[in-house]
């Protein structure tokens, strides 16, 4: 059976990608942020995952409002990045896979998540920045990625409890897959931030720290929020917590998790940037 090794939650803001392109990791603004990542990279190096399921939100590259899926996932052998319009460099294609992807699709539909399935989809910074952070120098080609997009842009969007249940169904699907693949899940985005309106710049550090704390053993305390409450507590784009919750949901059923890393840095661009690594007993 395929095994879930653990989950990683990370920021995905575009400025991180730009900073890496320009080699700014050791400048005063970025140093502390990037110093958090080597322990997580070392863990990945040791664990050698075959597949990464990445929960992210598309910011208007693949999906526009003409057809905006609430939940979408890829089932393709490869995914490409493209011009997003504001200057982040495009990155080499991302390796996909189709067997586990279709297995997950079947499992989701069987368990009442009627998702959109994409056999071709462009992936934006929500997915590419985390990959670049985990495998710098664009050395992510050996990892097969399954992109899972959650609408976090236009209301209505999935409730936190639903995103969590969605993640849980994906975790169940992985556990029932007859292969020996090692799988990790990633939740990207967040934490608190608001880009738009007179309230732009709003960050809620205590709430972010609370979320990271509860993510380990009591995620149900976070799934009780509505998206409206998340906007209130974490800013308009704080609803990206939904991707963290989907990641955490996928690990439900793995028993007690080991928190191997947690860091939080503020501000990175307009956000509170969190990084968290939760390992299962399947990890070495």
């Amino acid at each position: 059976m395929a095994k879930l090794l653990g989950g990683i939650a990370t920021s995905h803001i575009p400025a991180i990608g730009v900073a890496m392109d320009q080699g700014l990791e050791n400048t005063p603004y970025w140093k502390e942020f990037f110093e958090a990542y080597p322990p997580v990279r070392d863990w990945l190096y040791t664990q050698e995952p075959d597949i990464a399921i990445v929960f992210y939100n598309d910011h208007g590259l693949e999906f526009f409002h003409d057809r905006k899926p609430t939940f979408a996932m890829g089932a393709a052998a490869q995914y490409e990045n493209a011009d997003e319009g504001w200057g982040i460099a495009e990155i080499p294609p991302v390796t996909g896979e189709t067997e586990l992807s279709w297995h997950i699709v079947n499992h989701l539909i069987e368990h009442d998540f009627d998702i959109t399935v994409c056999q071709e989809m462009k992936v934006d910074h929500g997915l590419t920045v985390p990959l670049t952070l985990m495998w710098p120098g664009h050395k992510y080609g050996h990892v097969k990625v399954i992109p899972v997009a959650i609408n976090c842009e236009r209301h209505p969007m999935p409730k936190p409890s639903r995103s969590y249940a969605f993640g849980k169904a994906i975790g169940d699907a992985v556990r029932s897959f007859a292969g020996d693949q090692k799988v990790i899940v990633m939740g990207t985005g967040g934490l608190s931030h608001q880009l738009d309106g007179q309230r732009a710049g709003f960050i809620n550090k205590p709430f972010d720290l609370y979320c990271m704390d509860k993510m380990v053993d009591e995620p149900e305390l976070l799934t009780c929020y509505s998206n409206y409450e998340l906007v209130e507590k974490a800013g308009a784009q704080g609803v990206e917590l939904n991707m963290w919750l989907a990641m955490r949901g996928a690990l439900e059923g793995e028993g007690k998790l080991k928190e191997l890393h947690r860091s939080y840095h503020l501000p990175i661009s307009n956000t509170g940037a969190g990084l968290q690594l939760l390992a299962t007993d399947n990890a070495r």
Partner: protein
């Protein structure tokens, strides 16, 4: 989502706002394409017409008034592509919306970590 109580300084992009903002957001979505960005720069008014922006949206665009763009249904994810076309960062855009300079806005962000 039904918004019952307003969150000050926050315009929820819900269904009715997405309907209102559709031409503006569609225009900004086109800025993913370099040829479209050039076409816009050549003749902004013709580009507004091409996407049938409402008068309110054209006015907000002409004035580079981000709050007015949001009130006209703009989604910040798409407006960000317009900001990129103008060479503005998200901190510049934050300053424009809050009446701060970019430096003041950056300092405001830092201050929220000091608790």
């Amino acid at each position: 989502m039904t918004q019952t109580v307003d969150i000050p300084g926050t315009i929820m992009l819900d269904g009715p706002m997405a309907t209102k903002g559709y031409p503006l957001n569609k225009m900004c979505y086109s800025f993913n394409n370099a040829a479209a960005r050039n076409e816009f720069k050549q003749d902004e008014e013709a580009y507004y017409e091409k996407f049938k922006l409402t008068e309110e949206q054209r006015d907000a665009m002409r004035k580079r008034d981000v709050i007015a763009m949001l009130e006209a249904g703009g989604s910040i994810y798409y407006l960000a592509k317009f900001a990129g076309l103008l060479g503005l960062s998200v901190q510049d855009v934050g300053g424009l919306q809050t009446g701060m300079t970019t430096e003041e806005f950056k300092a405001f962000l830092v201050k929220q970590g000091e608790i």
